[in-house]
């Protein structure tokens, strides 16, 4: 059952038109010694059987009450997002190479680019990248191209997975990466300025950072610019309903992961990465970009533009090898933000913030629990436990709760530290329960 409609009669007719005796004959150009040595796959199944099998598989995943983030956030997705992005004209279309019959996708992506600019306070955005981590790597490569330098300074409080991705991307390119250790969840400004030289292409920070700390990076932007370096910031989009935008801080390139914007957790993907910058760097942006124009009758329309940057034209000199972006996920992000709306995002950010502040208070009051620091946070914060955090998390998993991300695996000397994430989906009851569970475990 391959979804091929060809009946034996169809096959006969087509073979006659081709002048071949059998379908096998069409494979004749392939020498016998190159034929598959094995194709040991199970037999197929009906839809009904498939559904049963998939439900069985999914049933092996245990649902947990999640106070975990690590770059992916459990936010409520409005019903309109599935409903509209599930329209076949959106999801079974291809990349809009023929603009006249793709104005749906093209206009949606133009609106997406606009929304990213408005959210981040930047001037231009592309039509999405794969995810937040690869977007950060692409931003780093962009800064290297723009400045012609080959050194990067990166704050260790940037998501550890994203930092790994940056390193992986740059492995073969002879780039020096200087990592600045955090001081108690805060960027070590002294060490950062010391590392910043006129050979630095960019300084890379995350706001809020992996520990949850919220900061104003404007002074770092100034310091970087004085040395001719760029400021790259990775941001958490929901937080931008409340926090100062990276554009307002003077960032040159802004990236982040769009999962929290209408894309389900789905065990890690798909989501999308966003990248935004100032007008002067537009030609250095990787990936697809949609531009506004007029048609032959003066009507407004949208097209893929500045394609000369991309792989299908520039090949090995392209700004990036990226071809597919994450169009449908970006569309979901646009629909999500439109549904939540201007005032809604402010309210949503407030909900997240208030609940996290409440959790900070309640959890911080538990015996054996302290806050890592007293700095401002948004919806994530770091606790210091009297016991090994990994052991506590393991224990609490049995009660069906993922209490937080223990930092021992990612930061040396932080075995007792736990990053707790609170979104609008967490209730007061769940937070109070977590406090009791923590108390029992410590």
């Amino acid at each position: 059952m391959s979804y091929s409609p060809n009946t034996p009669e169809d096959i006969r007719e087509m073979l006659a038109a081709i002048g071949a005796a059998s379908v096998d004959e069409l494979f004749a150009p392939i020498p016998a010694e190159l034929r598959a040595q094995s194709f040991a796959l199970p037999g197929g199944m009906s839809e009904m059987e498939l559904l049963r099998r998939m439900k069985e598989l999914a049933g092996n995943d245990r649902p947990l009450i999640g106070f975990i983030g690590g770059g992916y956030y459990d936010h409520y997705i409005p019903a309109v997002v599935d409903h509209l992005s599930g329209r076949a004209e959106f999801y079974t279309a291809y990349t809009p190479y023929q603009p006249e019959c793709s104005q749906g996708t093209l206009q949606a992506l133009f609106e997406y680019q606009t929304i990213i600019c408005r959210l981040t306070g930047m001037e231009v955005s592309n039509a999405s990248l794969y995810d937040g981590g690869t977007a950060l790597a692409e931003a780093a490569m962009m800064a290297l191209r723009v400045t012609g330098r080959n050194r990067l300074v990166i704050d260790a409080a940037v998501n550890p997975f994203s930092r790994e991705i940056v390193r992986t991307y740059l492995t073969n390119l002879g780039v020096e990466i200087i990592e600045i250790s955090s001081k108690n969840g805060l960027v070590d400004r002294q060490a950062l300025t010391a590392a910043l030289t006129d050979q630095t292409a960019a300084v890379i920070l995350q706001n809020p950072n992996f520990f949850g700390t919220v900061d104003d990076l404007s002074d770092i932007a100034t310091a970087a610019h004085e040395k001719g370096a760029l400021l790259i910031t990775s941001v958490y989009p929901i937080s931008l309903g409340m926090l100062k935008s990276p554009g307002a801080m003077g960032a040159d390139i802004v990236v982040g992961d769009g999962q929290s914007l209408g894309n389900p957790l789905s065990f890690g993907g798909p989501s999308f990465g966003f990248i935004a910058t100032t007008k002067k760097y537009i030609r250095n942006l990787p990936g697809r970009i949609i531009g506004e124009t007029l048609d032959r009758n003066g009507k407004r329309g949208f097209v893929l533009t500045l394609q000369a940057r991309e792989q299908h034209i520039k090949r090995h000199k392209a700004t990036s090898n990226i071809c597919s972006n994450q169009s449908l996920c970006a569309l979901r992000g646009l629909i999500y933000l439109t549904s939540v709306g201007r005032e809604g995002l402010v309210e949503l950010a407030r909900l997240n913030y208030d609940k996290a502040e409440y959790a900070k208070g309640v959890l911080g009051a538990v015996k054996g629990v302290q806050l890592l620091n007293a700095v401002p946070t948004f919806n994530e914060f770091t606790l210091v436990l009297a016991k090994d955090a990994a052991a506590v998390v393991r224990q609490l998993l049995d009660s069906g709760v993922a209490a937080g991300v223990p930092l021992g695996a990612y930061y040396e000397g932080m075995d007792n530290c736990l990053v707790v994430t609170v979104t609008e989906k967490r209730t007061k009851e769940e937070i109070d329960a977590l406090a009791k569970q923590l108390e029992a475990a410590l």
């Binding site: 037999g43 890690g268 709306g341």
Partner: protein
């Protein structure tokens, strides 16, 4: 059609949020908060729904039109596969990375492991990593694996060889890994010139990137020899799986001699294209390269449970936040187990049959740069029509007016006025005949009435958009806000 911003009215709300069940906390210091809320749209839910519903109706799509884009494999996306993806919607990826968390993610980890195994068997490779997020990402990952292999052996390699018919992502990916590109021209028999290849091959070549069948839809008769020549110089063979739809169950790149491959789940394995993503580009390797696979690696333990290996010292590192585009993988996994062995073999047979049928019916009307049995796609040239001043793009625009999405045009680059048609196995003879009739009509019109083709399209919301103006104006964001 107006932009959503042009439909916004201050104060309009969409989603209703719940009230807070906790007290309002003290505000953050002023220097940390934004002074003005972000200029997001302000529309009612009905206006939102109308806007996006009407936008969607401006698209051609597989579910509405024949969409024979060569090299893209626009096959039907089975709806049941759409239904099963949400079964994993609430699985948090971080769970599996928590201490003791793997036991709460056995479903997802199991699917990842099984899918890797199925893809390895389909392609004849020893292990597959599903982490790369798209085909091009898989290509880059594959070349990084090759670079790691050479580094571990102490080999000094500078070059990657690609044929001139290759997809742009091939040389772009190799360049991202720091290699220089050597391009080999296409021979009259339609594939990489073997003599030129032999001459270019030397001890400094790290890899050769090929796709088979190639972007002309032709199976390279010398492919085994090419693999042998490369291996003699310790250059590894990379297989771009974009055209795997032609050979499912017939040929396995691993058997032929390829060392590293990637597959496109959104092409061969029927996951939807989404208007340009998300895709998924799993990478397969022969056992010599297993030590370098990306982190984390999904393994099955002795007791049959699934776990993550996160501390492999030789791994090239991480290419994605977590495990890859899992939601896409669920659909591909469902597709593979639903079709099963016989179903997958039928895919390549019917795909190749359909493409040869198109070739047979159209070759009298369009130039054929390489008159050979094609595989799953066929390439024509509009050179004959150009004599009357009609370009491939004009034919494409005419097809739009007649309700068909055009085939790929102007690719591959080594064919003038290229038209690449890939019907896929899911199209019926009636659909193909309707398309063939319009193509023949267009060919006739090119001779008798070329102005009609230049006027096209007339039935769409816009016609012949000024791409020069777009590139010069660089208007990529709607302002002001």
């Amino acid at each position: 059609m107006k932009l959503i911003y042009e439909k916004s009215v201050a104060g309009r709300r969409g989603l209703k949020l719940p009230a807070s069940d906790v007290p309002r906390a003290a505000d953050l210091p002023k220097n940390l908060v934004r002074q003005e809320s972000a200029g997001l749209p302000e529309v009612s839910e009905l206006d939102l729904v109308r806007h996006f519903t009407n936008l969607s109706r401006r698209n051609f799509s597989v579910d509405t039109n024949f969409y024979p884009l060569g090299s893209c494999t626009m096959k039907y996306n089975a709806k049941i596969t759409e239904n099963v993806a949400p079964l994993f919607a609430d699985s948090h990826p971080m769970t599996a990375l928590l201490p003791g968390g793997e036991s709460s993610s056995q479903g997802a980890l199991g699917l990842l492991f099984e899918l890797g195994g199925l893809l390895a068997e389909i392609t004849g490779m020893d292990e597959v990593s599903c982490q790369p997020l798209a085909g091009a990402h898989g290509e880059m990952t594959g070349i990084m694996l090759i670079a790691a292999y050479h580094r571990a052996k102490g080999n000094r390699k500078k070059y990657v060889i690609v044929p001139d018919s290759s997809h742009g992502t091939n040389p772009a990916s190799a360049a991202m890994v720091g290699y220089e590109i050597i391009t080999i021209p296409t021979a009259p028999y339609g594939d990489m010139d073997l003599d030129a290849f032999r001459a270019a091959m030397n001890g400094e070549v790290a890899a050769v990137m090929m796709t088979c069948p190639n972007t002309l839809g032709l199976f390279n008769p010398h492919i085994k020899e090419i693999c042998d020549i490369a291996h003699e110089h310790d250059a590894l063979m990379y297989y771009d799986g974009a055209n795997l739809n032609a050979i499912l169950g017939k040929v396995r790149p691993g058997d032929v001699g390829f060392d590293v491959i990637h597959v496109n789940l959104h092409k061969t394995f029927g996951t939807p294209h989404g208007g340009g993503g998300p895709g998924s580009g799993p990478v397969g390797v022969k056992k010599e390269l297993i030590p370098f696979l990306p982190t984390p690696r999904v393994i099955m333990q002795a007791n049959g449970s699934f776990a993550l290996e996160t501390s492999n010292p030789q791994s090239i590192g991480r290419l994605a936040n977590f495990f890859g585009n899992f939601g896409v993988m669920v659909k591909a996994y469902a597709y593979i187990i639903m079709l099963g062995r016989e179903g997958l073999i039928e895919v390549s047979e019917q795909a190749v049959l359909n493409a040869n049928y198109m070739m047979a019916q159209l070759k009298g009307h369009y130039d054929v740069p390489f008159d050979l049995t094609c595989m799953h796609e066929c390439v024509f040239s509009a050179a004959r029509q150009l004599k009357h001043g009609v370009h491939a793009i004009d034919i494409a625009k005419y097809l739009i007016d007649r309700g068909h999405h055009p085939p790929t045009v102007y690719f591959p680059l080594n064919v003038k006025e290229a038209i690449m048609i890939e019907p896929t196995e899911t199209e019926s003879k009636e659909t193909m005949d309707a398309f063939i009739a319009v193509m023949i009509e267009a060919a006739e019109m090119a001779e008798k009435n070329p102005e009609v083709l230049h006027e096209a399209p007339l039935t769409m919301p816009v016609s012949r958009l000024d791409e020069t103006k777009a590139a010069r104006d660089q208007n990529v964001c709607f302002g002001p806000w």
